[in-house]
Amino acid sequence: MSEDTPKADKPGSSRAPSSETRFWNDPAKRALIFQALLIGIIGFFLFSIVSNTLNNLETRGITTGFGFLTDEAGFSIPLSLIDYTAADSYGRTFIVGLLNTILVSVLGIIAATLLGFVMGVARLSDNWMIAKLSTIYIEIFRNIPLLLQMFFWYFAVLRSLPSPRQSIEFLGSFLNVRGLSVPRPVAEEGLGMVFWAFVVAIVLSLILVRWAHRRQDATGQIFPSGWASTGLILGLPLLTFVIMGAPLSLDAPQLRGFNFTGGMTLMPELVALWLALTIYTSTFIAETVRGGILAVPKGQLEAASALGLPKTRTLRLIVIPQAMRVIIPPLTSQYLNLTKNSSLATAIGYPDLVSVFAGTTLNQTGQAIEVISMTMAVYLTLSLLTSLFMNWYNKRMALVER
């Protein structure tokens, strides 16, 4: 780097160059020269990398380009959310892997959020034992590498489960070494109506909440809109469900020979990955939640109780909105971390993006540069989207100061 950068760190402190300043003492010119030099160095560096790479690829007989994406893949993937056979293209393996990554991330995010909120609140509980147990849970699982937890669940727990014939049975589900077989819900005639009832209920409760707000503004009377809309959202679809004659049947898994047919089987790799991601991330979410709740100043609680607000309403109107403002940005980055961590799937053989695309496809085609860049681009896009969301959220939530 240069001897001196142009200005100090803060705007407004720059020194205007006097007329007799030599050009190497003029901060603006110096910055220009320095930046030109930097571009030159980086450009040379990139150029040598590219030319070396092209040379190396040539000697190894690898052609560059994305043409390989349309070639036939020729390997099968044990879990796919879309139709996929070995005859499909490499491009399709990318989609399959991406969808599997999204599947486990979404499952993990839902479970980790629930568990994390419970644990975070439990750590603040005034019940000594609950608080201590939750502290122990958090401190243990936060400080053990995720990969180890994954290996533990996969190799030590799920791999040592009994064979399908000796499955552990509970609630119509079967747990064995081949995974978790659960009944599959099968939609029948009329389920669409239930869905529409659900949509109608949501719209109705939105209208209800607006009406309740307006009434409270006008008269000061409080309408229990929370309970009413919960009842509406749960009740209306349920009512339709009963009226339509329960248009949903369960396809229960059946033991046939050595394996289960019917139902839905979660592969053990998915279960292990899901468990490990959930438990590991939930400890970080719990700490975020705890921090958020503690960040609400004590004066707010005192003010609420001075106003005579009951405990539940204090929580709903005072604590949660202020805590969420603090919680949501780190929470989103935990979600991003979980998604990135799901790439460890490759170590236990869950067919996620890294395992399928940067693993098998890379090994079969040898297109290291293209494959790795595409994989990195996916994660990069996700993280840029997350930070865009966070910026938007922070701007929306920023305190309006006078």
């Binding site: 100090a8 803060k10 070396n52 400080n143 180890l148």
Partner: protein
């Protein structure tokens, strides 16, 4: 009228002592009492078999799996292979070299971490400059009468430590430069730093390791070749310096504006201002952040198993697949978990302690 002070009444019996404590902390209200009983029962119910298996029924001494007869945990699996788990395939006559470098590291870190130790400037110089050079010769050998030890023999827990320490120490200077770049007023420098930082922070470490192991050899002329460990290290350092940059930026932002302005008013040049005024104060603020990134990196060093290095996890995994010891993977995992946990928990406690210290000591950051 005469007023006499009466002796205070004794406190109600159920607010003091063990009973009172339990009443206040465990049974204050019907809901809490039920929760205490149910959760307490579940915890004990689950804990008893675990303790039974791990400690009471366990086998501790022996030479082979024949010693494990009691049905509990078989810690013999760990004790017979402890050397391998800790030192990998490093020649056993040379273990002292690893030990010596870790002891030196422990002394230096203690020197840096404990408050009120003199000559901290010298200690950081030793840690950041002299120590890496000494350790390099100590570990690789080939000089001063020490036989050379090829890096493919490195492994076990010492490999995790080496990777994490090198990752942090080497990433620190890059991180400082990147953070300064990100706060610079030169548009090109700033945007290059931002792009670098955001790219590396946006991708998972595992793709970085993949990249380092398959793409890195393509980037250099054919006559330059890296061994596997060096490739992993380059990947880790590139990745870690982006995280380090964010930690450093946090520290720089915590320095009051007046410090920058005072340095400018004295007419100090940019580098003098940074090196003599800003960075010394900022680095102190950054220590908790650095410790936290170190914890994260330390846990992540277990990922190198995926590119075929034999760290602790990989070596235990391989050992539990050994036909002589099949079926003892759980003991192995518990051992690894304990090793990592002790280090990570200890460090996280230290960083929390430091954060509290900094918060009170530097209350006036206006």
């Amino acid at each position: 009228m005469k007023y006499a002070i009466e002796a205070a009444l004794p406190p109600p019996p159920n607010t003091v002592g063990v009973l009172g404590w339990m009443r206040r902390h465990l049974f204050n209200g019907p809901l809490n009492s039920v929760a205490t009983l149910v959760i307490g029962f579940l915890a004990v119910y689950w804990l008893i078999p675990v303790v039974q298996w791990m400690l009471i029924d366990a086998d501790w001494v022996g030479e082979s799996r024949e010693a494990c007869t009691s049905g509990g945990a078989c810690w013999v699996f760990i004790s017979t292979r402890l050397d391998q788990f800790l030192y990998g395939f490093y020649p056993s006559g040379e273990y002292w070299r690893l030990n010596l470098s870790f002891i030196m590291l422990a002394i230096l870190t203690a020197w840096l971490m404990l408050p009120n130790m003199p000559f901290k400037g010298w200690a950081s110089f030793l840690t950041l400059v002299i120590y890496p050079i000494v350790t390099f010769y100590l570990l690789t050998g080939g000089a001063f009468d020490m036989p050379a030890v090829d890096t493919h023999l490195w492994g076990g827990f010492s490999l995790n430590l080496i990777l994490a320490v090198i990752g942090i120490v080497a990433a620190l200077p890059f991180g400082i430069l990147l953070a300064l770049g990100r706060r610079s007023e030169m548009p090109i420098v700033r945007s290059l730093s931002v792009v670098y930082i955001e790219i590396w922070r946006g991708v998972p470490l595992i793709t970085v390791l993949f990249m380092a192991s398959v793409m890195l050899p393509l980037f250099f002329p054919e006559d330059i070749s890296f061994d596997k460990l060096l490739r992993a290290m380059i990947g880790i350092i590139l990745f870690q310096s982006a995280y380090m940059a964010e930690v450093v930026r946090g520290g720089l932002q915590a320095i009051p504006k007046g410090q920058y302005e005072a340095a400018d008013a004295l007419g100090l040049s940019y580098w003098k201002k940074m090196i003599m005024i800003i960075l010394p104060q900022a680095l102190k603020m950054m220590i908790p952040g650095i410790v936290n990134t170190f914890i994260a990196l330390f846990k992540d060093t277990s990922l190198v198993v995926i590119i075929g290095l034999f760290d602790l996890l990989a070596i235990v995994q391989a050992a539990s697949n050994d036909p002589d010891w099949i079926g003892y993977a759980t003991e192995g995992y518990i051992f690894i978990a304990l090793m990592f946990w002790i280090f990570c928990f200890g460090m996280s406690r230290y960083s929390q302690h430091l954060e509290r210290l900094l918060h009170t000591g530097h209350g006036g950051r206006n």
